[in-house]
């Protein structure tokens, strides 16, 4: 009934001679939380970055919201997007990185309001007000004027989540959001993500947190050597997998 928000079929990608994606088939419907697990170097982060066009795709089809990513159909031919087409496309997708990537020269509230001012064209005051509301949502209003290096890893990642949410994205991408965190800081970030999922946000989450995938994910996909080996409900993939590769991986991480 629902059209897919992200639909990939046969997506391939290589860096030089190294084939990273070997024909990925993947689908996310609006409101779904889709978790991607798999060993390091299996191509799951690269695939996530393809979804918001931070990486280009070599072959296959990748559609977001019903149209091809990176190309515009005009006069019977596909034309590559211009710089501002990419910018407009990405402004509707939030991304959270493994290493947070908060802007080092701006404080927390400026990090959140930056795109509101420069991309959405809001006035500085309105953007600041909105940014404060977003920081409040992740419980960091008290840290608004702190620079990234004054915040803990968990706080930085929550600011990054607030920064992505401020632009009212229709899709949120998480690239191993807790992998760079000290163990005791992982939960605060996962809690923010869980709240987001409960609010109905469409999310694609590349993660090593099997517990999170089981609890929050609507679907779990297992990536290995550039393809999705298995995909389904958390219960099927994580507890009753038919694939020996999936089981071997889960044995190692659990």
């Amino acid at each position: 009934m629902n059209a897919s928000l992200v639909r990939a079929s046969g997506v391939t990608k290589s860096f030089g001679h190294h084939q990273v994606l070997n024909g990925v088939d993947f689908e996310v419907r609006p409101g779904e939380v889709s978790c991607i697990i798999g060993p390091s170097g299996s191509g799951k982060s690269t695939f996530l970055r393809c979804i918001n066009a931070l990486e280009t795709v070599d072959g296959g089809s990748l559609e977001v919201a019903g149209s091809q990513v990176g190309y515009e159909l005009r006069g019977g031919t596909y034309r590559p997007w211009r710089d501002r087409d990419f910018a407009r496309f990405r402004s509707g997708i939030g991304m959270v990185f493994q290493r947070f990537n908060l802007y080092g020269h701006l404080d927390a509230v400026e990090n959140v309001s930056c795109s509101l001012v420069n991309v959405a064209g809001m006035s500085k005051d309105a953007a600041r007000e909105r940014a404060m509301a977003e920081l409040d949502r992740v419980g960091l209003a008290a840290h608004a004027t702190k620079r990234p290096h004054q915040l803990s890893g968990g706080q930085q990642q929550r600011v990054a989540i607030a920064r992505a949410l401020a632009m009212d994205p229709q899709l949120m991408l998480f690239d191993e959001p807790t992998s760079a965190l000290d163990p005791e800081l992982v939960d605060e970030v996962l809690e923010s993500m869980k709240a987001l999922a409960l609010g109905g946000m469409t999310m694609v989450v590349v993660t090593h947190e099997i517990g999170f995938a089981r609890e929050v994910g609507d679907t779990v996909s297992f990536f290995d050597e550039g393809v999705i080996v298995e995909s389904g409900t958390p219960d099927r993939v994580l507890s009753h997998s038919s694939s020996p590769r999936t089981r071997a991986f889960l044995d190692k991480v659990l």
Partner: protein, 328 residues
């Protein structure tokens, strides 16, 4: 370099009792130090008490109007040439990093040309531009509307100096800016792009402000260097400090005296610029600066902390040693 930390707290002996430390006298260091001081004093004295230098004439000229005027021109010229060099350098760096290969090649060629030819040659070239283009014309194409100047009116020693020094600095500075831009973490660019910014916005709003903190310290050095490089302007009679000093000594033959006058002023200007640089660095992210230059003398002094703090760390160290000893 700071002296190595010297321990004064006593150490536990074999039976556990504390035994004090007797400091070592470094006789070799004292002898070499004394010899070095004697040599430096002899050098200074041989200049200061040299009867061939007329110090009264040095002081007479130090504040003469012509010299002061030269000082003013030198400052003004250094500031303007540095501003030209810095702004053009940023443009060149962005060109060199652009995806447009034509722009890349133009920037590379420019940098090669201006770094490949001596600045002295460039100064003389600009001064003599009139041989190539007797008139400079700004005109709206296909109309009679425009302005036209005699090149010799425009290319005074001062403007030739500005162009020569500014364009030359921009070529060197472009490399500094490029390194600064590339030192900004790639993740910053990705976050900005993911946030919906265009590549131009990303450069302007996110990357350049952060690159600035890396670029600032060398900028101060470029300006300090520029203060003295302006003395080359003597070849195009730019009316700077060195030109004016040379004009005076060509008349009265007090060569050494006027070189001393000029040197004193250059040293004063350099001292002021060095002070300003340290203030500037403190304003622009101390972290980034510390990576490029070590802490200043004052910072080193402050960091040593109060005697109370030192005593405390010493006591802590003692406690941990005793703890280890009892474990054994």
């Amino acid at each position: 370099m700071a002296a190595p930390h010297r321990r004064t707290e006593p150490l536990p002996g074999p039976d556990g009792a504390l035994i004090p430390i007797t400091p070592r006298m470094h006789w070799g260091r004292w002898v070499i130090g004394a010899l070095a001081v004697a040599f430096v004093l002899w050098l200074v004295a041989s200049v200061v008490f040299n009867e061939n230098i007329r110090w009264n004439r040095v002081f007479e000229y130090l504040f003469s109007p012509k010299i002061l005027n030269g000082v003013f021109v030198t400052i003004w010229m250094s500031v303007l040439a540095t501003v030209i060099g810095l702004s053009l350098g940023v443009v060149l760096a962005v060109m060199k990093l652009s995806r447009n290969s034509v722009l890349q090649w133009i920037a590379t060629g420019y940098i090669w040309f201006f770094r490949g030819t001596p600045v002295l040659v460039q100064l003389i070239f600009w001064y003599n531009l009139a041989f190539l283009f007797p008139f400079l014309t700004l005109q709206v194409p296909f109309t009679q509307i425009g302005v036209r100047w005699d090149t010799n009116d425009i290319m005074t020693g001062f403007t030739a100096a500005l162009l020569g020094l500014g364009l030359n600095l921009s070529a060197y500075f472009a490399e500094t800016v490029r390194a600064g831009i590339q030192a900004v973490d790639r993740g910053q660019t990705e976050a900005a792009l993911a946030g919906g910014m265009t590549s131009m916005q990303t450069m302007r709003v996110i990357v350049l402000p952060q690159a600035l903190r890396i670029i600032i310290p060398p900028t101060g050095n470029e300006f300090i260097s520029m203060l003295k490089t302006t003395s080359l302007v003597i070849v195009v009679a730019g009316n700077d400090l060195m030109t004016n000093a040379s004009q005076i000594y060509k008349q009265n033959n007090l060569i050494i005296e006027l070189l001393i006058v000029a040197s004193i002023w250059y040293m004063v200007l350099t001292a002021i610029a060095t002070f300003a640089q340290s203030r500037l660095e403190r304003r622009f992210g101390a972290d980034a600066v510390r990576l490029v230059r070590g802490p200043t003398f004052a910072q080193t002094l402050l960091k040593r902390g109060s005697p109370a703090q030192q005593a405390q760390t010493a006591t802590e160290a003692m406690a941990s040693i005793e703890e280890k000893a009892t474990k054994r």
